[in-house]
């Protein structure tokens, strides 16, 4: 086993802050949507808006961070070994096969993660953010020359939210597929991950 410093301090901060905000958004969003009643519509709406702005700020800084530190390269999509990955998750992992991808400081994400996270970052979050902002400023849209109904915006926003929810569930589940059940989560807390030192099974 080798201890590798995978996640920098800011990355971890960003991850957990984003997680909290997204959970908050999900909970308040659900209440606005009418799933349950706890805080009351008004309160939930206010909180949802605050969380939304918090996410905007966080994302803005994180984009900046990604580009200035070069971490954006982690998300360059690749189809290399995607087949192996899919095979691992569908077959290999039940047979105890080794992970086909080795994490390093330079390349933390496996190809499947790259694709998913990229989709998360350039499709789901922007769609949610844009529709959300449009709804915040709904009263002023006509004077900006934008004509769109609140219903359309809300439908898109909700649909994207459900996508996000699906991602969230899969994401949480996937964290358990590490070396041990908690090793991935631990890594995201401490920054260090223990990685088996044997040579990768395939590809080398």
């Amino acid at each position: 086993m080798r201890r590798v410093y995978l996640y920098t301090r800011y990355e971890r901060f960003w991850h957990w802050a984003q997680a909290l905000i997204l959970i908050g958004l999900g909970l308040t969003g659900a209440e606005i949507h009418g799933v349950y009643r706890w805080l009351g519509f008004e309160e939930a709406y206010e909180l949802h808006t605050y969380f939304g702005w918090a996410l905007v700020v966080l994302v803005a800084f994180t984009i900046f961070w990604h580009f200035t530190t070069g971490q954006w390269k982690q998300y360059i999509p690749t189809l290399d070994r995607v087949d192996a990955m899919i095979r691992f998750y569908t077959v290999g992992m039940f047979r105890g096969e080794p992970h086909p991808y080795k994490k390093t400081e330079l390349s933390k994400l496996n190809p499947l993660q790259r694709l998913t996270y990229l989709g998360f970052k350039i499709i789901i979050v922007p769609v949610l953010g844009t529709t959300g902002l449009l709804m915040i400023y709904y009263n002023r849209l006509p004077e900006w020359g934008i004509h769109v109904s609140l219903g359309t915006l809300a439908a898109i926003h909700t649909a994207a939210a459900f996508l996000l929810l699906a991602f969230f569930i899969v994401h949480v589940y996937m964290t358990t597929t590490g070396h041990t059940v908690f090793s991935n989560i631990k890594a995201m807390i401490t920054g260090y991950e223990e990685i088996p030192e044997e040579s990768p099974a395939a590809g080398d």
Partner: protein
């Protein structure tokens, strides 16, 4: 200013004005009144007909007695309310005090208004008590202060009794009368003269006959004053020394035939009768023939109340061709005097103070019938009128900002809120007055006919008809408005010189001055000619009518002493007359930033006061109720000048704090000298050891990431730009062709660029952990700093290697760390915060003022700007201290630096693991 001798003693001005009016309108008016006045239809002709009543309530057509306005108009209107709600009638009588108790008044004043407050321009002193030295009793005042519309002190005694009930008594100031002809004090019988009731016709009749009214007053036939005003209207004709009613104008019941009725709402012409030069015809505006002094507000300030273009005026105004602007834009755009100075309970203008916040409009208000029954004759006024007039009405008028949206129209102006907070609208919108105004009045040696010598400002030549009117730039003084804000506003300053006597002082009565200086037939006494005749020709030239020596002054004082006025001495006072009219159209308003933001700022330009002052006398600045003199009076070889001070403001481009300038300059110059010396020594040292250079092995290291380089250069450009634009804002006399406004915008934009750049960089350094580069090591820092300092001061000349070696992980040496620590933690924040505060003044001037105002914040900003400049000199110089002079600069461009390889590390070369390097 040229001298100009005018009449005030005999109040000739209303005569002249009346004459002009009669010439202009008299014949037309007569003809129009004789027929139907339909040729000039005006809405006010709705007024129903009525019966003119005398004081006993009988129709005057039957009795032939004077019209009583109170009885006549009181038949329908609530005259009780009107007479008690009319400052024009009471003129301060309601606020009489003990002598000398008037705040901001002379020691001899006993009322804040014209009834009891002495004005050196008019001179006549309404005496608080009768006696041998009395100047004027109430009857004299009624004759003398002929701008009074009647009512108030012309009907009631100082104690509030009807004057007609008072027994004629020469010892009661209300019934004592000093005969202007003989000079003796007599008792006045008000029952015989009648009282002067409020003269409704003066304001509510078109083209009232003011001349006839003044004659009636002068002849002491007070009761006839209102009736005389109608002379020429077709209703009244003069027959000898009486006035008779035209029977054709009245029906059998004594009611006026409607064709003769012309009652109307007051027009500008009515107001102009007493207040200044108004003009509403299509003919060119001309100065009143001969005597500019006839129009009071025009005389004291040069304001002309006309909508005509100045270039179409009949006056000889310098540079007139270019003045294609109206005298006053409001009048040009059909605003009438009464649109701003409206009756306080006029339902159109009524502002309900106590309306709750949730109401935009409160419909519960007097309607028109209520208003017509009981119209307030107190008119809205601002805070600008002189002295203490009508204190209870201060600020009842709408100010500029209450009609105009300054928000919408001043977007071109940087820091508009700040400008609005410190400057009144008038300051820029009345940049200059184009008619002459009185600058100086000298009563110490009266001219023939008991007139003062007067100097007009804004006039070249002898009088307004033949002279060249140059106009003048008003002086800017801090003035408090109703909101309590003190802002600079334009004023004319009028200096007056006069004799006082006794303790507490009183002005020497006019009759006494006449006795001392003139013989009974109005010629100068021989002793006066002997005393003042400088060239010995037996006559007094205007220039000689001045007390030029101490001896002359003492002699006249002795004459006054002999006449019974002990301790005679000269006083000089400067009164401020505010300028609120003659507002220019936008294109003629002051828009040039450098008018104020320059070394010779308009805000501090000296204002000429007086050149005729007697020897040894000094003018005192008189505090008005709202105005403050922030500067001081200076004597420049017998020319008195007011030098404004704006120490309470910080005006960019004008204000400078000397020590900041010196310290800053010293820092920059010192740094330049230091690095020049250092460079010289380095060059000299390098020459010495030219051949014997050590073999320094260099290694290319990737030191600066792309982002770091962009950050650095953006910061460099921003700071250099800020220093340059800041310097030009501070000293606009450099490169005066660059628009000042552009400099300000450029500076602000650069500041935001720097701020964003710095904020993002801070985040970057924190998030990526690069912040460590800037943190001085906790251990050994001082030793390391010593090593580095020793290198710069000693080793560098010997060609020693740098004591520290740059790596990707440690780019800065201890001295750099210390310097940048200072720079980033002290200087940059201070510059940023002070800059932000200055910028905040744009939107929240109050907040800035709480923190000491610009005058505290701006010098700090300037000081640190100097220090930044010094740092940059040092910084640029130190970039040349690398292996080659250009090494460091190249590194900051490409990211790669040739770093000296430490001897001990040469053996074990390590591979840089920089991520960026991997490309």
């Amino acid at each position: 200013m040229k001298e100009y001798v005018l009449s005030t003693a005999r109040r000739r001005w209303p005569w002249m004005l009346g004459l002009v009016l009669v010439l202009a309108f008299g014949i037309v008016g007569w003809a129009a009144a004789g027929e139907t006045p339909a040729s000039n239809p005006a809405p006010a002709r709705m007024h129903p007909t009525f019966v003119f009543l005398d004081a006993d309530g009988n129709p005057v057509v039957k009795t032939g007695r004077p019209i009583s306005t109170i009885k006549t108009c009181g038949a329908c209107h609530d005259v009780g309310f009107i007479t008690t709600h009319s400052y024009h009638a009471t003129l301060g009588q309601e606020s009489l005090t003990q002598v000398g108790q008037v705040p901001g008044g002379h020691p001899w004043d006993f009322s804040p208004g014209p009834f009891g407050r002495w004005n050196p321009l008019l001179y006549d002193y309404l005496s608080p008590e009768a006696g041998p030295q009395m100047d004027m009793g109430t009857p004299n005042w009624v004759q003398s202060f002929a701008r009074h519309i009647g009512g108030g002190p012309a009907t009631l005694s100082r104690l509030g009794q009807p004057l007609t009930l008072l027994p004629p008594d020469p010892t009661n100031p209300d019934t004592a009368y000093r005969d202007p002809e003989t000079g003796e004090v007599k008792a006045w019988d008000w029952r015989k003269s009648g009282v002067v009731e409020m003269n409704c016709f003066l304001c509510h009749w078109p083209k009232p006959n003011n001349q006839a009214r003044l004659e009636a007053l002068k002849q002491g036939r007070f009761a006839w004053a209102s009736t005389a005003t109608l002379e020429g209207s077709g209703l009244v004709t003069r027959e000898g020394d009486r006035w008779a009613y035209n029977p054709a104008a009245f029906d059998e019941q004594g009611e006026i035939r409607s064709a003769f009725l012309q009652i109307q709402a007051p027009t500008n012409e009515n107001c102009g009768l007493c207040h200044g030069l108004t003009h509403t015809t299509q003919e060119p505006v001309v100065a009143p023939a001969g005597d500019w002094y006839t129009a009071w507000e025009t005389a004291t300030t040069g304001q002309v109340f006309a909508g005509d273009k100045i270039n179409e005026s009949g006056m000889n105004i310098a540079g007139k061709d270019a003045l294609a602007r109206p005298w006053d834009v409001h009048l040009e755009r059909l605003i009438q005097c009464t649109d701003c100075h409206y009756s306080l309970n006029n339902p159109i203008y009524l502002q309900k103070e106590d309306k709750p916040e949730y109401l935009l409009f409160d419909p519960r208000r007097p309607d028109f019938s209520d208003y017509l029954y009981r119209p307030s004759h107190d008119f809205a006024r601002g805070t600008s009128a002189q002295h203490t007039v009508a204190p209870e009405l201060r600020g009842t008028m709408r100010r500029c900002e209450q009609c105009h949206s300054v928000e919408a129209t001043h977007n071109w102006l940087p820091y508009k809120h700040r400008h609005m907070a410190k400057l009144s609208c008038e300051t820029c919108h009345i940049p200059r007055l184009y008619a002459p105004a009185i600058g100086e009045v000298d009563w110490t040696v009266p001219c023939k006919g008991m007139r003062p010598r007067i100097a007009l400002r804004g006039l070249e030549g002898d009088d307004t008809v033949t002279g060249l009117v140059t106009g003048y730039e008003p002086v800017l003084l801090p003035r408090k408005d109703i909101t309590g804000r003190e802002r600079l506003a334009p004023f004319n300053l009028v200096t007056a010189w006069y004799w006082v006597y006794g303790e507490p002082p009183r002005p020497v009565p006019k009759w006494a001055l006449r006795q001392v200086f003139f013989t009974d037939d109005g010629e100068y006494r021989d002793r006066v000619v002997q005393l003042l005749d400088g060239n010995g020709d037996g006559r007094l030239t205007p220039d000689e009518m001045r007390l030029r020596t101490e001896e002359q002054r003492a002699t006249v004082a002795r004459w006054l002493e002999e006449a019974g006025f002990s301790q005679a001495r000269i006083m000089g006072e400067v009164q401020a007359y505010s300028v609120n009219h003659d507002v220019a159209t936008p294109e003629f308003a002051l828009k040039d930033c450098r008018a104020c933001h320059a070394r010779d700022s308009r805000l501090a330009r000296p204002f000429h006061l007086a050149a005729m002052g007697p020897e040894g006398a000094e003018p005192t600045l008189w505090l008005g109720a709202d105005v403050r003199f922030s500067g001081q009076v200076e004597n420049q070889e017998h020319d008195w000048v007011y030098r404004p001070q704006v120490a309470h403001l910080y005006v960019f481009g004008f204000s400078r704090v000397p020590w900041v300038e010196w310290v800053g300059l010293l820092a920059v110059v010192g740094t330049i000298l230091g690095v020049s010396a250092h460079a010289g020594m380095r060059i000299a040292a390098a020459r010495k050891r030219m051949k014997g250079t050590q073999d320094v092995r260099l290694k290319r290291v990737y030191l600066y990431s792309l982002y770091e380089r962009i950050w650095h250069w953006l910061q460099a450009v921003a700071i250099l730009g800020l220093l340059l634009t800041g310097y030009l804002i501070h000293k606009p006399e450099w490169l005066a062709w660059i628009p000042y406004k552009g400099l300000v915008y450029a500076h602000n934009i650069l500041a935001v660029v720097l701020l964003l750049d710095a904020a993002l960089a801070l985040f970057y350094h924190l998030a990526s952990g690069e912040i460590r580069q800037f943190l001085p090591p906790t251990r050994g820092f001082f030793y390391q700093a010593y090593q580095q300092a020793r290198y710069y001061l000693y080793g560098i000349f010997r060609g020693e290697p740098h004591p520290f070696h740059k790596t990707r992980e440690r780019k800065l040496n201890p001295l750099q760390q210390a310097t940048y620590f200072m720079l980033l933690n002290v200087m940059l924040p201070i510059q940023g915060i002070t800059g932000l505060l200055i910028w905040l003044g744009w939107h929240r001037p109050d907040l800035l003022d709480k923190l000491g105002g610009l005058k505290t914040i701006a010098p700090i900003h300037t000081l640190f700007a100097w220090l930044f400049a010094a740092f940059i000199v040092m910084h640029i110089y130190l970039t040349t201290t690398g292996p080659a002079p250009s090494t460091y600069i190249k590194a900051m461009i490409t990211g790669w630096e040739d770093v000296e390889e430490p001897a001990r590390e040469r053996a074990t070369e390590t591979v840089s693991s920089s991520q960026e390097e991997g490309a």
